[in-house]
Symmetry: C2
Subunit: 420 residues, 2 copies
Amino acid sequence: MKTDNTSNAPMIEIDPQMVERYIMDLAAFGSDGGTGVSRTVYSSEWVDATAAYEAWCTEAGLEARRDAVGNIWGRLEGSEGGKSIVSGSHIDSQTPGGRYDGALGALSGLIALRVLREQFGTPKRTLECIAFCEEESSRFPSANFWGSRAITGNITPKDTETVIGFDGVPIGDAMRAVGLDPAKIPEAERDDIDAFIELHIEQGPILEHADLPVAVVTGITGIRHYEITLTGTQNHAGAFPMDLRRDPMAGFAEMATGLIDTANRWGRPAVTTVGRVNVVPNATAIIPDSVTFTLDTRHPDPERCAELHATQERLMREVAERRGLGIEFRVMIDHAACPSAPDLVTALDRAAKGQQVPVMHMASGAGHDSQQMAKITPIVMLFIRSKDGRSHTPDEFSSISDIVDGIRVLAAAMYDLAYV
Amino acid sequence: MKTDNTSNAPMIEIDPQMVERYIMDLAAFGSDGGTGVSRTVYSSEWVDATAAYEAWCTEAGLEARRDAVGNIWGRLEGSEGGKSIVSGSHIDSQTPGGRYDGALGALSGLIALRVLREQFGTPKRTLECIAFCEEESSRFPSANFWGSRAITGNITPKDTETVIGFDGVPIGDAMRAVGLDPAKIPEAERDDIDAFIELHIEQGPILEHADLPVAVVTGITGIRHYEITLTGTQNHAGAFPMDLRRDPMAGFAEMATGLIDTANRWGRPAVTTVGRVNVVPNATAIIPDSVTFTLDTRHPDPERCAELHATQERLMREVAERRGLGIEFRVMIDHAACPSAPDLVTALDRAAKGQQVPVMHMASGAGHDSQQMAKITPIVMLFIRSKDGRSHTPDEFSSISDIVDGIRVLAAAMYDLAYV
C-alpha cells in the first residue's frame, strides 16, 4: 500500500444495468409479493440463492466455494499471496424483508471483484467476496450471526442442537437437510483475513436528511437490551386514593420519559427505545400489579456507552425507590461497541475522494456481521442511503445511482489495498 | 319523621355471632378455596344463595319474594303504608371474590329489619331489604347492574339477547335456566321507593388510614373510561436518530405521567388510572407503530369531573400535536357522578351520633347499585372499613366489630325514618 494521502485508483466504471440485474435476479429467490423477499437460512429459496451467487462468482472469474456452514466465498488470488481483503454481507432476509438488506453487500463484494478483475487484472494481494449464510435471526431467533460466527470460531458444538427455529427444527438438522455436516463447522474458521469491508443499506434516515449517497461507518454501536420489571400493589382504580398508591404504571411512565429524554439530551449518536411493554393484569379499572418493559439503549463509543447505561440505571433505581416500587433488571443482550479500524476508515475516505463520491461519517446504530468479523480482522463499513430510512420491510429502497457510487468507493478502496 | 337534630333511635343491640353466622353461611354458596367466593348470577351457587336469603327473610318475619329478574326482597309492612324505605346490595361475586363485597350489604338490610322488628315491632312506614341478583359483571361483562336496572326500568327487551356471558350464553337463556321468564322483566319495576340505603365494604384504605369503622358516603364518583390510540412511525431502534423519530411510546409515557400527575395535584377525591397498554408490534428493537392505552378517570363532583376530563383531554392533544403523533379517543364508559341525598346523609350522621359510632364522610370511588337506584329514589351509602383496602379478592376482610357498628347505624337511621 502506498503511504501518501490520496487514492491511487483510477475512476472505476460500473454498469448500472448490471448492478440492477444482479439485485433483481437475487431478489427473485424468495420473492414475496411485489418488492418483498422472504429468504431464511437453509430454506429452499436460500439454497437457490446461494447456488446462484456461487455460479455468478465462477462466471466472474473467481474461485467459488461453499464453506462448512454454507457461506459462499469468491476468491481472486493475488500474485503476492498473503492474507485476504474481504467484502460482503448476508444473503438471508427478514420474512418478509426487501431486496437490499444484506443482499446488496453480498452482491457489491462480487461486483467489485468482477469489475476490478475485468478492468485491472490480477491483484497483488488476494481479494475475496462473501455471502454470509445468516444474519437476520429470522428463522432461528438465537442464531446470532451464524455465518460470521462460524468464520470466527464462535460456534460451540451444542449450538447446533440448542439453536431452535420458529418451526421447532434445531439448526443442525436444518444444515443436514441442505447437505451440510454440523460436525464440520470448525472447518469454516478463517485466520488469514487482513481487512473486512461490509457495504450495507443505512436502515436510517441520516444520509437522506444530509442529501448524501454514501457514508463511511466509523464504528458499530454498543447495544444493551434490558428487561425491567416494576412491581407495585394491585388495587381498585376507583377506591384507592392517589396518595396511597404504589402504581407501577406511574413509575414506568416516569422512567420511560426520563430514559428516552436522556438519549434526546445526549443527541446523536445515542439512541434509546422502549419497544415492549407488558402489564399485569392489564385491565382498565385496576391499578396494575406489575409492568415489564424493555430498554434498548445504544452508543458507538465504548466509554460513553457505559456512561449512558449507568445514567439510565441510576434513573430507574431512583424512580423505583422514591415510588416504593420493586424493580428487577435483566440484561438480555449486551454487545460491546465496535469501532472501525482507523486505517480502513481513512482508506474509504481517500477512495471516495478519488471517485468524487461525497461521503459523511456516521456510526452504525444496528448490529452487523462486521462486529463478529472484528474478532479476527480490522473492519469497516459503507452505508448506502435508504429511502425514508426504511429497512426490514418490502418498502426498503436504495437507488441504483447511490448503490453504484457505493460500489465504486468499495472497489477503489480494494484497488488501493490490493493493486498498488 | 321528627324534625329536631338528633336521632330518636334507642341504642340498637346486634348479636355479633348472628352477623358472623349469616356471613359465613352465605359465603358457603360458591365457596372457592379458603376465604374465596365465586358466585355468578344465575349459576347453581347463586340459586342456592338466593333461596337461602329468601328463607332467612321469611324466618325473620318478613314477607319474602323473588322478583322477575331474581332479586330477592324481604318486606316489613308499615302500619301507615306509603312508599318503602329499602336497604340492600348485590348477592353475586367476582370469580373469585371474597365474603363481603355485595353480600354484606344484602345481609345488613336483612339483619337491620330482623333486629328492628324483634326489638320495636311493626314500623309506621314500610321497610324492605333486597339482595340484588347481579352487579359485578363477572359472568356477563355488559350486564351493567342487571338487578337494579330491572327495578328502575332500564332493561330493554333486546338486552336479554345481546348481553352475552363469557360462556357464550345470552342472559335471557341463563334466566330461563333458573326458571325466570325474560318477558316478565318489566314486572320487576318499582315506583314506590322513597329511600335506598346501601351498606358496602369501602374497597379502599381511607377508613383504615383514618382509624374509623364506618363512613357516610356523600356521593358516587363519576367514571369515564377512555381508550386512546397513539400512532407514530415504526422504525429500527438503532438506525433512527432520536431527533427524527415519531415515537408513540415516548408520547404515551409523557401523557401517562401528566394524566396521573393531574390527579395527584388535584388530590382526593380525584383519581386517574392507566391500567391497560397494548403496543404494536411490541418488540424490543423496534420503535413502535402504535400504543393503545386506557384512561380511567373519576371525580364525585359533576362539575369538577367535567373539568378533570377537559384538562386531561387538553394534555393529551397537546402532547400528540407537539410530537406529531396521531391520536384517537374512544369513550368506553361514561357514568355521571351521583351525589347522595343530603337528607339521607344527615339521617345517617344523626344515627351514627346516636349510636356513638364515629364516622367520616367520603365519596365512593367505585360504582354501585345505588347509582341505578338514584334514578327512582333518593340514595345514600354506608362504607365499612376494608383491611388493607382490598376487594375483588378472597383476601378482602372487614371485622365483625366494624360490621356491627355499620349495621347499628343503618338500623338506627331506618328507625328514625320508619318508626318515629
